[in-house]
C-alpha cells in the first residue's frame, strides 16, 4: 500500500492546494439523545451525485461515553512500521487506556483501505513533556494536543491522526460517503451529533487523510466550496502558528475555528461577524454599539474573512454550527423537528430521514444556524 493513500505527498507536489465541490449533511439532537449512524448515512446517500467517489466521511459525537473524559484518537497507518513508530511516540506523552483496530466491514466498494486504529489516551503531565521552551502560564492541555497532532501529521511518515477529540470520532476515507459509512459500521454507533461529507475534488486523486471531515480537538469541519481567500487565510493562520500541511480549504477553516473559538475564546455567536463578515453597507445601518463591534471585528480579523463560496458545518461536543458565505454562493438548507436540527446541502437528504419536518428554511448568507446541546447533567 502506498503512503499516498493516507498522506499528501508534499515532496512531489509542494504546496499543492486541493479544492473540491461537495455535499454536506449534519444532524443534531439538542437534548443529547443518541441515535445510530443509519440516519446520517441515509441522508448523505441521497446526495450521491454531489460526490465522485474520491472521498467521504463522518464525524460522530457522543459515541464513546465510556471514555468521555479521555482523548480519543483515530489514526491511519500505511503499515505496521508506521504504527510502531507512532505508538512509541504516543506512549511517551500519553497513558494508553485502551486501543484497537477500528472494526470494519470489508466491501468491494472500498479499495485498499489503510490500517485504522483508535486509542483512548490520558495525557501525562504536560510540564514534564516540554522540558524546554514551555510557556507554562498559557499552555493548556488543548494547546499540547493541537501542537502534538500538527507535528505528528507533518513529521511521522506513514501515519496520520484524523481525529483527536473527546467522546467523538472521525471516520473517513476514499469512496462514496455511504460506502464509507457502511465500511466503518456506523449503524452500530450511537451519537447525538453526526456530520457527513461527500467529496468531489477537482484536481487530485483521493487519499484517505485528505477526506473530510477535518478534525482538531473536538472540532470537526465539513465544507462545500472553493474559497477564494485561501492564500490570505493560510498566511494569516501561519503567522499565528498553524502550518497548513494539507493545503485544503477545510484544514484552514478548521484552524480559523480553533483560533477564534478556542484560543481567542470568542463566543460562537460572533464567529459569523468574522468568518462571513457583514457587508459594510449593512454595518452602516446598524445601531451604534453593534456597528462599532461589527466594524472593529471586521477590521481586526480581515485575515479570517472567508471569501468565495462555502457552506460549512462545524461539529463540536457542545454544538453544531452551520454557516454560508455572505452572498450565499453554495446551497444550504436547514430544518427542525422536535429536538432535531438538520443542515444539508440539499433538502432531499433531510426529507429522506425526516419526511415531515416542523420547519424548513434556507439560511441567509452569513447568518449562522446554531444548535446547542442541552447539558444533561
Amino acid at each position: 500500500m502506498s503512503i499516498s493513500l493516507i498522506k499528501n505527498k508534499k515532496s512531489d507536489y509542494p504546496g499543492y492546494r486541493v479544492p473540491s465541490g461537495c455535499a454536506v449533511f449534519g444532524v443534531l439532537n439538542e437534548s443529547g439523545s443518541c441515535f445510530d449512524g443509519r440516519t446520517i448515512i441515509d441522508g448523505i446517500e441521497m446526495m450521491h451525485d454531489r460526490s465522485n467517489g474520491l472521498g467521504g466521511g463522518f464525524a460522530a459525537y457522543g459515541i464513546y461515553p465510556q471514555y468521555k473524559n479521555d482523548w480519543a484518537f483515530h489514526i491511519l497507518y500505511d503499515d505496521s512500521d508506521a504504527r510502531n513508530r507512532m505508538e512509541d511516540i504516543l506512549k511517551k506523552s500519553f497513558a494508553v487506556l485502551y486501543f484497537e483496530e477500528l472494526p470494519t466491514k470489508r466491501s468491494p466498494a472500498i479499495e485498499n483501505p489503510p490500517m485504522i486504529f483508535r486509542y483512548f489516551l490520558k495525557l501525562k503531565d504536560i510540564y514534564s513533556l516540554y522540558e524546554r521552551n514551555v510557556p507554562v502560564d498559557n499552555f493548556s492541555e488543548d494547546d499540547f494536543i493541537v501542537d502534538f497532532v500538527l507535528k505528528m501529521n507533518a513529521r511521522v511518515s506513514g501515519a496520520y491522526i484524523i481525529s483527536s477529540g473527546k467522546n467523538m470520532g472521525i471516520f473517513k476515507g476514499v469512496g462514496f460517503p455511504e460506502d464509507i459509512g457502511h465500511y466503518f459500521r456506523l449503524d452500530e454507533y450511537k451519537g447525538y451529533l453526526w456530520t457527513s461529507h461527500g467529496r468531489f475534488p477537482t484536481n487530485s486523486v483521493g487519499w484517505w487523510g485528505g477526506a473530510h471531515p477535518f478534525g482538531l480537538l473536538n472540532f470537526s469541519i465539513v465544507h462545500n466550496g472553493e474559497i477564494s481567500s485561501y492564500g490570505r487565510n493560510q498566511r494569516y493562520v501561519a503567522s499565528l502558528g498553524y502550518e497548513c500541511s494539507l493545503s485544503t480549504d477545510t484544514e484552514v477553516i478548521t484552524y480559523l475555528f480553533d483560533l477564534l473559538a478556542r484560543k481567542k475564546n470568542m463566543d460562537i455567536e460572533l464567529l459569523n461577524m468574522i468568518l462571513a463578515a457583514p457587508l459594510w453597507e449593512r454595518i452602516e445601518e446598524m445601531p451604534e454599539d453593534d456597528r462599532e463591534l461589527a466594524s472593529t471585528l471586521r477590521i481586526m480579523y480581515g485575515g479570517a474573512l472567508i471569501n468565495g463560496p462555502f457552506s460549512i458545518i462545524a461539529g463540536h461536543n457542545d454544538f453544531m454550527y452551520a454557516l454560508n458565505d455572505r452572498i450565499k454562493l453554495r446551497p444550504m438548507v436547514a430544518a427542525r423537528k422536535n429536538d432535531y436540527l438538520y443542515v444539508s446541502s440539499e433538502e432531499s437528504a433531510i426529507i429522506k430521514v425526516c419526511p415531515q419536518p416542523d420547519i424548513v428554511w434556507r439560511p441567509q448568507g452569513g447568518i449562522p444556524v446554531i444548535g446547542r446541546v442541552k447539558k444533561k447533567d
Binding site: 498566511r235 460572533l270 457587508l279 480581515g302 471569501n307 463560496p309 454562493l329
Partner: protein, 506 residues
C-alpha cells in the same frame, strides 16, 4: 575645445503649411524653445532648448508642431551610450552633480509586468461587481493583540477600542509631494480630490498651506529631517502623521528646494526665511538608530493624544525587511515603503538610477518577514514607487500591501508628460513650478475632476478584477499570493515574491 554642451535631445518639426504664427507655442514654452521672428512673420524653434514636455504640441491649434526624439548623434556603442558621453561632457565642464526629476527611466525589471493575476472558473464562481456588492474599503492603522467583548442580555458589547485608523474608500492614497516641489494649484487638486473621493493626500515636507487647512481631515502630514512647517497645529489638525526617513528616488539623502523657489507663500508655510535654500539633512539628526525613531514616534503620539496613526516612510533598500520589522516594533502604525522607481522633484541622477531595490521585491520581503515574526497586524503597509495602473495595485495588494501611494500617476493625470525637468522649476504644465505665469495653467477644479476620475476608474477596475477572481472584499486579497503567478522569472525571484510560476496549479 569645440564641445557642444547643449546638444538637443529632440527634433522640433513645424509644418509651415499649417502654422498660422499665432505664437501659442511661444507663449507656452517656458524654456524659450520657440521665438517669433517679426521680420519674417514666422515662428522659429531652437530644438536644443526643448525638454520634450509636449506642451506646444498639445496646444497648437493647427497641429503644426511635432516633437520627436532625435536619433543618435554618436556612433553606436552598447557600452558608451549617448547619456554617458553627454553626461561626462557636462560634468567635465561644470564640475557639478547631475540632477534629474521623476523616477528612474532605466530599463530595470518591472516585476509587475512579470506577474499575472488569477480568475475563477467552474469550481468557484466569479462575482459580478455590477450586480453584487464589491468591497474595497481599506483601513490603515495598527490592530491590537486582542479585543474585549462583553456579553449581556441585549447582545455583545465591545469593551476595548481599536486604536486610530484611517478609513479609505479605495486602497489608493496620493503620495507625499510638497508645496514647493509642486504648485499650490497641484496641491489643491490633490487635497480636494482626496476629500471628495474619501482618501488622503500627503503634504510631503512642505508644510500645510493655510488654503489647504480645510482639507486637514484628508491630509497626512509629514515630519521630515528638515522639520519644515512642523508645529503643534500642523500635527494635531491632520488625519495622520508620517515620519519621512527616506524616499525611493533618493535613498540616503534629504530633499532640496532651491532658494529661488522659496517665495513668500512657501516661506510662511515652511516657516523658513524667504529666498533661503530649504535643504533637508540626509538623516534626522535626532534619529541615529531605531530606538531614536521610537522616541520620535511616541513624541508625535503624545503631541497628538494618541488619536492619530503615526507612520514611517522609508525607501526600499537591501535590508528593508529587518528595517521594516524594527519600525513596526518601534511603534509605527503604518510603514510606507518607497521603491527605487519612485518619483522625485529633484535627485542626483547617480542615486536615482542606482540606489535601492524594486518595490515589488521589497514589499514581498517585508510582508513575509512581518508575518514570520507574528507582527504583521501591528502596522499597515503602504507601498509607493511607480504604481502605473490598477493592475499594479491589485498585484501589490495580493503581495501583501494594505494600500498604495500614487505620485507620478497623479501628476500625469494633471497633465505631466514626464519630461523629467521638475528640478528646473519651469514646468509648462503648471505642476512642478512656482512661476505664477505657469501655475495658473493648472485649474484646481479641473485637476480635482481629473484626479477623481482616475481614482474612480482604477477603483472600478480593481473591483472587476477582484470579482473575476471570486473575491468580494479586498481584505481577502491582501497577501493572497495564491492568486498571483510569475512569468519569465527565475526561481530566486519567485521565491522572494513568494509566488508560483505561471502553469503551476495549486
Amino acid at each position: 575645445m569645440p564641445l557642444k554642451l547643449n546638444q538637443s535631445e529632440f527634433v522640433v518639426e513645424r509644418d509651415l503649411n499649417k502654422c498660422i504664427s499665432c505664437e501659442v507655442c511661444v507663449r507656452q514654452c517656458s524654456n524659450d524653445a520657440h521665438e517669433y521672428d517679426a521680420d519674417d512673420k514666422t515662428v522659429l524653434s531652437e530644438a536644443s532648448k526643448c525638454v520634450g514636455c509636449h506642451r506646444c504640441e498639445s496646444l497648437c491649434p493647427t497641429e503644426a508642431i511635432t516633437i520627436r526624439k532625435k536619433a543618435a548623434e554618436f556612433k553606436d556603442n552598447s557600452n558608451w551610450q549617448q547619456a554617458h558621453i553627454k553626461n561626462i561632457y557636462k560634468q567635465a565642464e561644470t564640475g557639478g552633480v547631475l540632477l534629474t526629476g521623476m523616477g528612474s527611466d532605466k530599463p530595470h525589471t518591472v516585476y509587475w509586468d512579470h506577474i499575472l493575476f488569477n480568475a475563477a472558473q467552474v469550481t468557484n464562481p466569479s462575482i459580478d461587481p455590477l450586480r453584487e456588492p464589491m468591497e474595497i474599503k481599506t483601513f490603515i492603522g495598527a490592530k491590537p493583540e486582542k479585543l474585549e467583548i462583553e456579553k449581556n442580555d441585549s447582545g455583545f458589547k465591545l469593551k476595548s477600542k481599536l486604536g486610530p485608523h484611517l478609513e479609505l474608500s479605495t486602497p489608493i492614497l496620493f503620495s507625499a509631494m510638497s508645496y514647493g516641489s509642486i504648485s499650490l494649484n497641484a496641491c489643491k487638486s490633490l487635497a480636494s480630490a482626496a476629500y471628495s473621493f474619501g482618501t488622503f493626500y500627503n503634504t510631503g515636507e512642505g508644510g500645510m498651506h493655510k488654503d489647504l487647512q480645510h482639507f486637514a481631515k484628508n491630509t497626512i502630514v509629514q515630519v521630515a529631517s528638515g522639520r519644515f512647517g512642523v508645529n503643534r497645529q500642523y500635527l494635531r489638525s491632520a488625519a495622520a502623521v508620517e515620519i519621512k526617513i527616506g524616499q525611493g528616488a533618493k535613498p540616503g539623502i534629504g530633499g532640496h528646494l532651491p532658494g529661488e523657489k522659496v517665495t513668500a507663500d512657501i516661506s510662511s508655510t515652511r516657516m523658513i526665511p524667504e529666498g533661503s535654500d530649504a535643504i533637508s539633512p540626509a538623516p534626522h539628526h535626532d534619529i541615529y538608530s531605531i530606538e531614536d525613531l521610537a522616541q520620535l514616534i511616541y513624541a508625535i503620539k503624545e503631541a497628538t493624544d494618541y488619536l492619530k496613526p503615526v507612520g514611517v516612510k522609508v525607501s526600499a533598500v537591501h535590508n528593508i525587511a529587518p528595517i521594516a520589522s524594527g519600525i513596526v516594533r518601534a511603534g509605527a502604525d503604518f510603514v510606507a515603503i518607497d521603491g527605487f522607481r519612485g518619483g522625485t522633484g529633484a535627485a542626483p541622477q547617480a542615486i536615482r538610477d542606482n540606489v535601492g531595490i524594486p518595490i515589488e521585491l521589497a514589499l514581498a520581503a517585508v510582508d513575509t518577514r512581518l508575518r514570520e515574526e507574528g507582527i504583521r497586524h501591528k502596522a499597515a503597509i503602504i507601498i509607493a514607487g511607480s504604481i502605473r495602473s490598477s493592475s499594479d495595485i491589485i498585484k501589490a495588494i495580493a503581495l501583501g500591501a494594505d494600500a498604495v501611494y500614487i505620485g507620478t500617476a497623479a501628476l500625469i493625470a494633471l497633465g505631466c508628460h514626464l519630461c523629467q525637468k521638475c528640478y528646473t522649476g519651469k514646468c509648462n504644465w503648471g505642476i512642478a513650478t512656482q512661476d505664477p505665469y505657469l501655475t495658473k495653467r493648472l485649474n484646481p477644479s479641473i485637476g480635482t475632476k481629473r484626479l477623481s476620475g482616475l481614482l474612480r476608474a482604477w477603483s472600478h477596475e480593481i473591483k472587476e478584477m477582484l470579482g473575476g477572481a471570486g473575491i468580494n472584499a479586498i481584505e481577502s486579497l491582501r497577501g493572497n499570493r495564491e492568486h498571483l503567478r510569475g512569468i519569465n522569472l527565475s526561481e530566486i525571484e519567485l521565491s522572494i515574491l513568494g509566488i508560483k510560476h505561471a502553469g503551476q496549479a495549486w
